[in-house]
Structure formats: C-alpha cells, structure tokens
C-alpha cells in the first residue's frame, strides 16, 4: 500500500481501483490501446487484435480453471463451435453481435453438457471428458455429412458485416481491432468484478475443497455447471470474433494445440487472476509471433520445435513459479519496496 493513503469507508476499500497510483495508471494507460491503430498498422495491428480475442478465451478458461478449478481441455472445440455458429448466424443477416452471442450460448450449452459428469466425478475425469469433446468436435467439423449443421468444413466469413442487423458496418482491420478491444475490456471488467461476487466466491470455495464447500451449504454441482456455462460462453464468443478476424474457417485452426497454447498463456501469466491472464496472453502471443517469424526466416525446417519450446516453458514455469509471472512481479515489487532493507 502506498504511503499516506488511507481508506475511510468500505466503499473505497472494496473498489476495483483503490489507490491514486492505480487511478493515474488507468487515466494514462487506457487511451494507449485506442490510439494504437494510428501509430502501427498491418500485421502488428492484426497481432494485437488476436491478443485481445485470445484474452477473452483465456479469461473464459480462467473462469472454469482458475476460479472453479475444473480442468477443461476443449478450448479448440469451444472456439470452433463459437466460430462456426457465428458464421452460420451471419448468413441469416442478423448482424455480428447477435451472431457472436448466439455462438457463445451454443458453446456454453455444449460446455455444460460435457460438464455433466461433474455430478459424480472430478479432476481427471472432467479433463478426459472434455478432451473427448475436443476430438469429437474435430471429427464433427471435418465431417462432410454433418454439413447441414455446421454449414461446410471450410467457410469464408464475410469481411463487411453490420454489428447489429446491417447497421454499424465492420469492414476494415481497424474496425475489427476496436471491436476486439472493446469486447476484451468488457469481458475483463466483468471477470474482475465476477471474482468479487457471491458466485465468484463460491467458485473459489469449490476450487479449494469441494467437499468442504458442500458441507458449508454450497451447491457444488450447480456452481461447477455455472462455471462451465460462463466460461464456455466467453470462449465461444471469442471464437466468433476470431472467425471474423481471420475471415476463413478451417478445423485445423481449432486443434488441441490451441488448447495447449491457451494453457501456456494462463499458467505463464498466473492462474486465477485476471491481470495474470491478460499479461500471459500478451507475452506469449508476442513471443510466439516472433518465434514463428524467426523460424520462418532462418530455419524453416525447424518450425516443429515451437511446441517443444512451449512444452519446456510450461514445465519450467510449473516447476519454478506455479503462480506465474504475476506472482514473480509481486515478489519483485515487494523487494523494491523494502530496498535496501531485507525486511
């Protein structure tokens, strides 16, 4: 806590932004992403839009994994469901926002259905049942005979769509960038506040010890399903946005590798914390982009080493600092605050 600032009422104690430093940081920092498109362009702008979109998905994963403690290995499946549903809905001319919301709801429904085993089992079993979902989804979206449901294995998403019906056209890269940024901010604010509500607290109770939570009168099963629904919605929504960003759908974008990437992002940043998720997504995405560029330029044969590097990062992070970069930064801050004293 900075010197000379005291809380005089509970309202300020409970606020999202509690200290003057935070308010100054907010006022100075918030305009930067909004001004970014005027400075950078092209590929970098795309990368940033992708970071915002993945941030939504990782925040969704954070709700299920970080808050409620259920291991979900179906990021790719949820994003694919969101993407294909969004593409289908766009065909009806409903507009982008309703399409993404419907995509999110469908993903949430599937997520709840595959979370149903939580009534009897936990942990590992949920992990495999969602891993099964991942494989079933990959098969489903590659299957021509199911085209009447998903509308074709490969699809192009229209580049010029209205946000609501045919109003507010989203046509250029910059428009998509702003849409992704605003959605990310909304979802980040929602999940920041969500962790402070009663439901968020019961999720954490379920995460810590579900037996104890049940004894305390929390309906464990309902809370787990609720976590699946909320997280699934966010991941499906981000899948829809991703479809609009890349403009083309193929099942190969939504494989188990995507799941692994999102896990790296979340674990690297810090499990269970919104800022950790955001930080992790940004750092890992930029690292991945640079790595890909490096390998493509200097060693095109060795691009398959990227998953090796990723796996190594996961293992080292889990062994050295399981709470992620955010916890490490916190320790650094404590050290600097006390410097030059050791206590």
């Amino acid at each position: 806590m900075p010197c000379g600032e005291y809380f005089t009422d509970y309202g300020s104690r409970m606020g999202l932004f509690r200290w003057r430093t935070q308010r100054i940081a907010l006022v100075l920092g918030l305009p930067i992403p909004f001004l970014l498109p005027f400075v950078i362009g092209g590929g970098t702008l795309n990368l940033f839009a992708q970071i915002y979109i993945f941030a939504i998905a990782v925040l969704g994963l954070n709700v299920i994994l970080g808050y409620a403690g259920e291991i979900v290995l179906a990021q790719g499946a949820f994003m694919a469901i969101g993407a294909y549903s969004t593409s289908r809905m766009l065909g009806t001319g409903a507009g982008l926002l309703p399409a993404m919301i419907v995509g999110g709801f469908i993903a949430a429904g599937v997520s709840v259905a595959f979370g149903l085993p939580a009534v009897r089992v936990k942990g590992f079993y949920i992990a495999i049942s969602t891993l099964a979902l991942q494989f079933i989804a990959e098969w489903f979206f590659l299957n021509d005979k199911a085209a009447f449901i998903h509308g074709g294995v490969q699809q192009t998403v229209p580049v010029d769509v209205g946000l609501l019906g045919s109003f507010i056209r989203i046509s250029s890269r910059t428009d998509i960038y702003f849409l992704a940024l605003v959605s990310m901010l909304v979802f980040a604010l929602l999940s920041l506040n969500f962790s402070r509500t009663g439901i968020g607290r019961s999720f954490r109770a379920v995460h810590e010890n579900d037996l104890a939570a049940a004894v305390l009168g929390i309906n464990v099963f309902r809370n787990k399903l609720l976590a699946f629904a909320i997280g699934g919605f966010m991941i499906g929504f981000s899948g829809g946005l991703y479809a609009v960003l890349i403009g083309f759908l193929d099942p190969s974008f939504f494989t188990i590798e995507l799941t692994l990437q999102h896990y790296v992002m979340l674990l690297f940043g810090g499990l269970g914390r919104v800022w950790g998720a955001l930080l992790g997504v940004a750092m890992v995405s930029i690292l991945l982009d640079n790595l890909q560029e490096f390998f493509n330029t200097y060693a095109p044969d060795a691009t398959s080493l990227i998953p090796v590097l990723f796996g190594a990062i996961i293992i080292v992070v889990l062994a050295v600092e399981p709470k992620g970069v955010l916890a490490a930064l916190g320790q650094l801050k404590e050290y600097l605050r006390k410097w030059p004293y050791a206590y």
Binding site: P117, L131, A132, N143, D301, L305, I306, V308, A312, L318
Partner: protein, 311 residues
C-alpha cells in the same frame, strides 16, 4: 441376416487391435498405479517407440545428420535399441521432470504430461519430418494365422495378442509374487510408510517409468507394424487408451487389458457397421462416446479402487 464370416473377421480384427492398445494401456495404468501420474503423453510415447525403430532401422534424420552418416541397423537390433531408448527415457523423465512434481496438485501433473506430449511429437517431427516412414521389410511380419470361417489374423495383431497376454500375466505375477513387485505395491499404497521401512521411492519410480515406457514403446512399434510404418496418426491412440483405462479402472493392469480389448472391438465394429451412415472417422469417435457413458454410469471402472474422500 447377419453375415457370420464378416462379423467374425471384424471381431478378430477388433481383438487384434485391442491387444496392441492393451500394451499401451497397461503402460498407462502401471504408471498411475505406482506413481499416481496420469500420463496424457501415452500416445506420444507410443509414437516415440514407433519412430525410433524407423530411425534406427533406416537412418535418415533430416536435421544435422547427412544421409548415410548413421549405420543402418538390422530389424531386431533396431527393436532392441528402441527398447533401450525407452529405458533411458524412463530414467531421464524421472530425474529431470517428475521428481519435481511429487505431491503437486493433479492439475500440474496433467498439464506437465500434456506439455511432454507436445515436446515428444514436436521433437520427432523435427528429427524425421512430418511424413509417414515405411518400415524395412525385415520388420514387417507378412505372415498370418488362419482361423475358422476363412478369416485370418495378420502377423502384427497375432504378435500383439500373444505379447499382451504374456505381459498382463507377467505383470500380475510380478506384482503379486516378487519382492520388487511388493515394493512397488507398498510404494503405491503409502509412500511415507514405505519410505520409513527403507524403500527407495526414487528407485521404484524409475522402475515403474522404465517398465511403462518399454511396454508402451512395444505397443507403438506393433501399431506401426500393423500399418506398414510409423505415422503421426499413432498420437491419437492416446485418447483411445484413456477410454480403455477408465473402463478398466485406472489403477488396475488387468482392467486396462480388458478395457483395451473392449475398446478395440468397439472400434472395429463401429468401422464395419456404423461408419457408412455417419461419416468417415466415426470408428475413433465411438469409444469416446462410450467413455462419456462410463464416466457418468460407472466412474471407477470395472476393477478400479473407489476413492473415499474426507476433509
């Protein structure tokens, strides 16, 4: 009317593939039984076995090593070398990675094994490229055993059936009647107490990993033999193996064997009877649907120990 010879041939093929799956599945449940690690990289371990035979038998590593720099080993020597690699890998994994995750939450271990899977398949792809690698003639059993109704079981499947039966019986005998087996069981049931009685937990973990990886690698090699060579499709056996071990009860070796046979049968029957209506590839999906069914109805499987939780 049911076409009896065709049905019989399908069942034979199912048991054959199931027996090979059983080897990989027993590797999984062995590790889980002794060390409590749920190894999601099991499919990739089978992949490592399959590709290392190809690497040893017909060396053409695309990276660093020019063509012809490595000696070409004969088929049997390549098999032995691969099994040695499996043993070394077991020791290495324990020393370098799993030692740090003893007593960590299940999430960390699952993520670590997933990451390991990525490392294995990425590294193999880096070594030999993403393509199918045909096995040399000396490694392809082109004989088959004749069975009633005019059907026959091909060489790799026959070896798989015999070998998996041998392995399951050997493991049961090993766990029940040998000193090392008792030590492994003691370490599995209570690490602290076993340590207090002078059991070296590190050594038990190394034994478990090497045994498991060796069996898994043999399973991978047989899978590759059945296909005529190593391909990255072997990776997807990982998820099918999970179905088998969940059905058998996670920590039971005979359960894993039975589960794998059932899953193999399901797969072949699905390929023969259902795939035409639903679309290609459904045979791999049918076991997964079966898995969801098991998890809801009988989560601890056929022979699994039911865990009782207390606060």
């Amino acid at each position: 009317m049911v076409d009896v010879p065709a049905l019989f041939a399908t069942i034979v093929a199912g048991i054959g593939i199931g027996a090979i799956y059983a080897l990989v599945a027993m590797g999984f449940s062995l590790i889980y039984k002794v060390t409590g690690v749920l190894n999601f990289a099991q499919g990739q371990l089978a992949l490592v076995g399959a590709y290392f035979v190809a690497i040893f038998a017909a060396p053409s590593i695309i990276w660093f090593v020019p063509a012809g720099a490595l000696p070409t080993l004969g088929g049997v020597v390549a098999l032995v070398a691969t099994i040695l690699v499996g043993v070394l890998l077991g020791v290495l994994l324990e020393r370098a990675i799993f030692r740090f995750f003893i007593g960590e939450p299940v999430l960390s271990v699952i993520i670590v094994t997933l990451a390991l899977g990525g490392i294995f398949s990425g590294f193999i792809q880096f070594l030999v490229g993403p393509n199918f690698r045909a096995y040399p003639e000396s490694l392809l059993p082109n004989w088959s055993v004749p069975l009633p109704f005019g059907t026959e079981i091909s060489g790799p499947f026959a070896i798989g059936v015999v070998l998996s039966l041998v392995v399951v019986i050997a493991l049961m005998v090993f766990f029940r009647y040998t000193v090392t087996g008792s030590i492994l069981r003691a370490a599995a049931s209570d690490q602290q107490a076993a340590m207090a009685l002078g059991v070296s937990i590190e050594r038990t973990i190394i034994i478990a990993w090497t045994l498991s990886i060796t069996i898994t690698a043999i399973g991978g090699i047989l899978l590759a033999m059945a296909n005529g060579g190593a391909g990255f499709a072997i990776e997807t056996t990982g998820i099918i193996i999970l179905v088998a071990v969940v059905f058998g009860g996670l920590d039971s070796v005979p359960g894993a064997f039975l589960g794998a046979i059932v899953v193999g049968l399901l797969r072949e029957l699905g390929r023969f009877y259902v795939e035409d209506f639903v679309g290609a590839g459904f045979a791999e999906i049918l076991p997964l649907i079966f898995l969801l069914f098991i998890i809801v109805v009988k989560p601890y499987g056929l022979f699994g120990t039911e865990r009782i939780e207390r606060i």
